[in-house]
Symmetry: C2
Subunit: 351 residues, 2 copies
């Protein structure tokens, strides 16, 4: 398969691979922010120059084949995109702007070069889209499964980073964008995608495969000093909100009818006989921002996020204790996480 | 096995694991450099504050079970130590001081908790020894084999980082410490270590399992402005020197009799019927610094490194072209890499 004379990594060798990767990334990435990347691939380490008066934000995620992705469900380019997108999302959640990324890839020896090339195409596209050039990493052999690890570095003006702690009783709880598209996409993949999927299927599959976290929105909210706490939604709202409440020592009440769910997710859910709020609460991989804002400052949000093309929705209120969800006119009930637990066997889904 | 009620990760769950890891690391690591680590584990990302006037150095390595380590050859604590040591070595090679590390760990579901705890003990010991606290990362499930990825961040005064480019014809080529101990240790492991190994076996095994890269020596050499190029030795001198020559567009001639080889490595090599220079040239994982110095400044080196307990040895000279090795009185011959190639099958050794 593929048009390459070198059909797999066994023939290429490690240093050939590093050279190939460097060339591929150099072609595809945008030029790094002027001066911020002093030197990248080719030395023992990359040399970065954060602007004066900025702090550095650092986050890392690992992604393992069969656990986090399946090569028959996502293209190599989509996997490359998503690996970096998940990490820049964490930067945005701290209020930071992307600076650079490091990517380590462990590959089975018979990985096809065209798979690897496509992986770096997708990675480079995400790096370009978010201004987060890949400046280093490692490529090694793995016995059976692809394993990826991405570290993303960002910068935030001193003292302006936003944490999970800080939410106060009475604050409004908001999310960016819509929730549940990724869960809907995964459900379609688990069921088996039809050959020429309709538009609403393509929409939810698209977010599942190439999420576009609103990183600039996170940075704008932080810069305006308007949010009291923020995090990104990666495991599912019901799970993620637990962390924010624990760190802030507060509770949250979510109004179920306020959860922003796309028409595409609603239609897909209807076809699969699933309640769409299930995906919004438990689906995971939404890569939207969850944040809290004092009620008196809610009116500032649209003017901050509108110019970025981002819509925020108030989904609930910070309370003194308890994590609850309420339907219209109904009594609130506890909101328990039901998401993916990495180390539990028989976990739902195949991520 | 083990005394834990929770005997493997399946029972612990991901969030239990993160809490356990955070507690374990917090106990073992030294306090982060005052003020440099603003917040660590517990938010979406770590927040770091490099000192004003410093640049940030970033490097990442992946380590995969059966490829880079074997759980029957190295203890979990040794694997944790070495994973971080290999990365701080790259920081030192740039002339940087360690700032912080991020570690992602992919674990088979039935990994014993006592293995994981011991891994973090060793990781934490290395973090403490080098002042490089682990401030973030990820723990995920892997299907069969442990896969680790470590990103190390360091700081270097603006403009003082040392690169692989910069070596000039006539410069002296030097290395810190001794070469070949790690290769000797690996050879013993491949042969099968005797039950109560003699001291010289323990010495070479010790460096193989817990290398102690002279990071402070790299920083001191950079600070003094005395080196023209520097890198760390990880794949073996014969392989690594190729990169320095390519980046600097020079050649190097190594004098074989000048290669610093420990008595322990010599004795072990004699017992195994191996030429000890083979390990010094091709063994890999020495984690020493390779650097070039103008001849006129060689006299400054002992006073710089002596107080750090580090000895440097001149092993050769930068030439206009060609990478060669010469025996006493013999004609120089080409020095080809023979080291481990990750993606080649039938590679020597089992790393």
């Amino acid at each position: 398969m593929g048009g390459d004379l070198l059909t797999d990594l066994t023939e290429l060798g490690e240093f050939g691979l590093i050279a190939r990767v460097s060339r591929g990334l150099a072609r595809r990435q945008v030029a790094p922010a002027a001066g911020a990347i002093r030197t990248a691939i080719g030395d023992d380490a990359a040399l970065l120059a954060p602007p004066p008066g900025y702090e550095v934000v650092a986050t890392a995620d690992a992604l393992v084949e069969t656990v986090h992705f399946r090569r028959d469900w996502s293209s190599a380019a989509d996997i490359g995109w998503k690996a970096l997108a998940a990490n820049v999302s964490d930067l945005g959640a701290m209020g930071a702007e992307p600076l650079a990324a490091l990517v380590t890839v462990a590959l089975p020896p018979h990985t096809e070069l065209k798979w690897l090339d496509a992986f770096y195409v997708g990675l480079g596209e995400c790096a370009a889209a978010y201004g987060c050039p890949v400046v280093g990493g490692d490529t090694v052999r793995a016995p059976f499964h692809v394993a990826l690890s991405v570290t993303a570095l960002g910068t935030v003006p001193e003292g302006q980073a936003v944490h999970r702690r800080g939410a106060r009783v009475g604050d409004c709880v908001c999310v960016t964008g819509v929730l549940g598209d990724s869960g809907g996409g995964l459900a379609l993949l688990e069921k088996g995608v039809v050959r020429r999927p309709p538009g609403h299927h393509r929409a939810v599959l698209g977010w599942h495969r190439r999420p576009q976290p609103p990183v600039a929105a996170g940075a704008a909210l932080a810069r305006a000093g308007v949010v009291t706490a923020m995090m990104d939604l990666s495991d599912g709202l019901a799970s993620d909100v637990q962390h924010l409440c624990r760190e802030s020592r507060v509770g949250i009440r979510v109004q179920a009818e306020r959860l922003p769910i796309s028409d595409a997710a609603r239609r897909t859910a209807g076809e699969l006989g699933v309640e769409p709020t299930h995906w919004a609460l438990h689906g995971g991989e939404d890569y939207q921002m969850l944040f809290t804002v004092p009620a008196a400052r809610m009116s500032e949000i649209p003017a901050l996020l509108g110019p970025l093309g981002v819509v925020a929705t108030r989904i609930g209120t910070v309370t003194a204790r308890g994590i609850e969800i309420a339907d219209v006119g109904g009594a609130p009930r506890p909101l328990h996480p039901l998401g993916f637990a990495h180390f539990r066997e028989n976990a739902p889904g195949s991520r």
